[in-house]
């Protein structure tokens, strides 16, 4: 059975397995994510939440099964088209993944530079996004000089600046205080309101309760379906 099958699917997984050697990280996952979904993937640590996100943006290849993203079959995608796939996403990593030697501006601008946007446009757009996430005053700072909350806001800014179709967030509020977590949640909600699809992997029950989206529960690599919080 495919969970939540819908005509306006943006991500579909068919009997997906992921092994690391003999260890089974994900077992027989089939799911459907619709456009403009706000989906939480929940479960305890080591359940396979991050692995599931990695399979979606091709951070890892599947061991078995098929993944379709916005019409692209990831098992058959050529190496040249991987950047095109990744530009469909804005990814917020658990460890932020900011380039420590580049300023806040350069980190966020990288996404637009990579997609070939003009310098003037980049300048304007990055400033506007940084203003939205409330970190414009730190535009020339290097990431190591920022607090965890500030770094996470930069990561969110980088995720939304290219106007992606989908945001993948891996424990976006994991190490943040509740105020900073609220800011991040509001930014994700804002993106969702504008028509974007948001997929959040988290075990933060408070965040899920506040956001009120669809929830899928993973345990020991298996999808257990919606679960009450």
């Amino acid at each position: 059975m495919i969970e939540g099958k819908d005509k306006s699917s943006i991500i579909q997984m068919f009997h997906v397995h992921k092994y690391y050697g003999s260890k089974k990280a994900l077992v027989d996952i089939s799911l459907n994510i619709s456009k403009n979904d706000f989906l939480f993937i929940s479960g305890p640590s080591g359940a396979g939440k991050s692995t599931l996100l990695k399979l979606i943006y091709l951070g890892e290849p599947v061991s078995e099964g098929q993944v379709l993203v916005d019409g692209m079959n990831l098992s058959r995608i050529s190496r040249k088209r991987i950047p095109l796939l990744r530009r469909k996403f804005g990814i917020i990593f658990q460890d932020y993944k900011l380039i420590s030697t580049k300023t806040v501006f350069d980190n966020v601008a990288l996404v637009l530079e990579a997609s070939g946007k003009k310098r003037k446009f980049i300048e304007k757009k990055v400033r506007s996004v940084l203003r939205t996430v409330g970190i414009e005053q730190r535009i020339n700072a290097l990431p190591p000089s920022l607090s965890g909350g500030e770094q996470q806001r930069v990561a969110v800014a980088r995720a939304v600046v290219g106007v992606p179709k989908i945001i993948l967030a891996d424990e976006p509020t994991g190490s943040l205080d509740s105020d900073s977590a609220d800011i991040i949640l509001n930014l994700l909600k804002g993106f969702h309101t504008q028509g974007g699809t948001v997929i959040v992997a988290t075990h933060d029950k408070e965040l899920i309760r506040k956001a009120g989206g669809r929830i899928l529960y993973l345990k020991q690599g298996r999808l257990l379906g919606p679960t009450p919080i």
């Binding site: 943006y57 991987i82 993944k97 530079e113 990579a114 310098r119 290219g162």
Partner: protein, 291 residues
């Protein structure tokens, strides 16, 4: 392209020491290779200049009579490559010898008869004034029945040509070694830069940067380093050349017509230097930046 260039220049600044080492290595390699090129070019010019003065002396057999001379002269003039043929009688030759041996002329006074043969002094057209062609003409002249022997100073010319060829061979070998060394250094530098920036490269890939976007600045960086290395190498050679040329008398008085490399040549060297940068980068990216 402007973005790639901007990022490449920024990378050179960020990795200043590594870039400086690469540029200096390329500059040294270019300096040595172009110094050899300068030597060969000028040695070649000097040999050509000396070659222009080469004349063939064709000595006649003693039994040849005067009435046969116009016929022999005509036959010699009929050989392709001959510019002028002058008859030098044995009396004239003896007179010249006495003039050349002013202090030792008493030795010649004791001779009972003139030992010198009649001869033709033969000059050669410019396009034929090089080793093989001179030898070919000399062989043709020598094969005429009335000619006893020919001389054209071939031995020293051959010896010089042999030494010159040896140097040329050494030059090619040195050029090859320095080319490989420069490529190796550029490749190592790029490898180190890739290593220090591996996290950044991973992040670029995750945000959707294409391989062209990631690799482009590395190529531009290497080509800039190659160009700068080439220009510095040529500039150092030029300054050294000027310093030597203004201090050595034989250069100043035009004894040898020594000149610097032609613009085409040094532009070629700078292009080669850019190629060295590109190749070093290509090798490194192929090995260490697999998608």
């Amino acid at each position: 392209m402007a973005t790639y260039y901007h990022r490449a220049v920024q990378d050179i600044k960020d990795n200043g020491f590594l870039s400086a080492v690469t540029i200096i290595t390329i500059a040294l390699s270019i300096l040595i290779v172009s110094a050899f090129a300068l030597f060969f070019t000028n040695a070649n010019n000097v040999m050509n200049y000396w070659g222009k003065g080469v004349k063939i002396m064709a000595y006649l057999k003693p039994e040849i009579s005067q009435k046969n001379l116009p016929d022999i002269k005509r036959k010699i003039q009929g050989i392709y490559g001959i510019q002028d043929v002058n008859f030098i009688s044995k009396e004239e030759a003896f007179k010249r010898l006495k003039e050349q041996m002013k202090r030792q002329s008493s030795i010649l006074m004791n001779l009972n008869e003139n030992p010198l043969p009649d001869a033709f002094e033969i000059s050669i057209i410019e396009s034929s004034q090089h080793g093989e062609k001179i030898e070919e003409i000399a062989t043709k002249i020598e094969s005429l029945p009335s000619i006893e022997d020919v001389e054209y100073g071939q031995k020293w010319l051959e010896r010089f040509t042999n030494i010159f060829d040896l140097f040329r061979l050494a030059g090619y070998a040195m050029g090859g070694i320095f080319f490989m060394a420069a490529v190796f250094i550029v490749a190592s530098t790029i490898r180190l830069v890739i290593y220090t920036r591996r996290e950044e490269i991973e992040i670029m890939r995750l945000v959707g940067a294409s391989e062209k976007f990631i690799r482009g600045p590395f190529y531009i960086e290497s080509i800039i380093q190659g160009t700068l290395g080439g220009i510095i190498g040529i500039a150092v050679l030029f300054i050294t050349f000027k310093l030597i040329a203004s201090n050595v008398d034989s250069f100043k008085h035009g004894l040898f017509n020594i000149c610097f490399l032609s613009p085409e040549f040094y532009f070629g060297i700078i292009l080669g230097s850019m190629f060295v940068g590109w190749l070093g980068c290509y090798i490194s990216l192929k090995q260490f930046l697999k998608a």
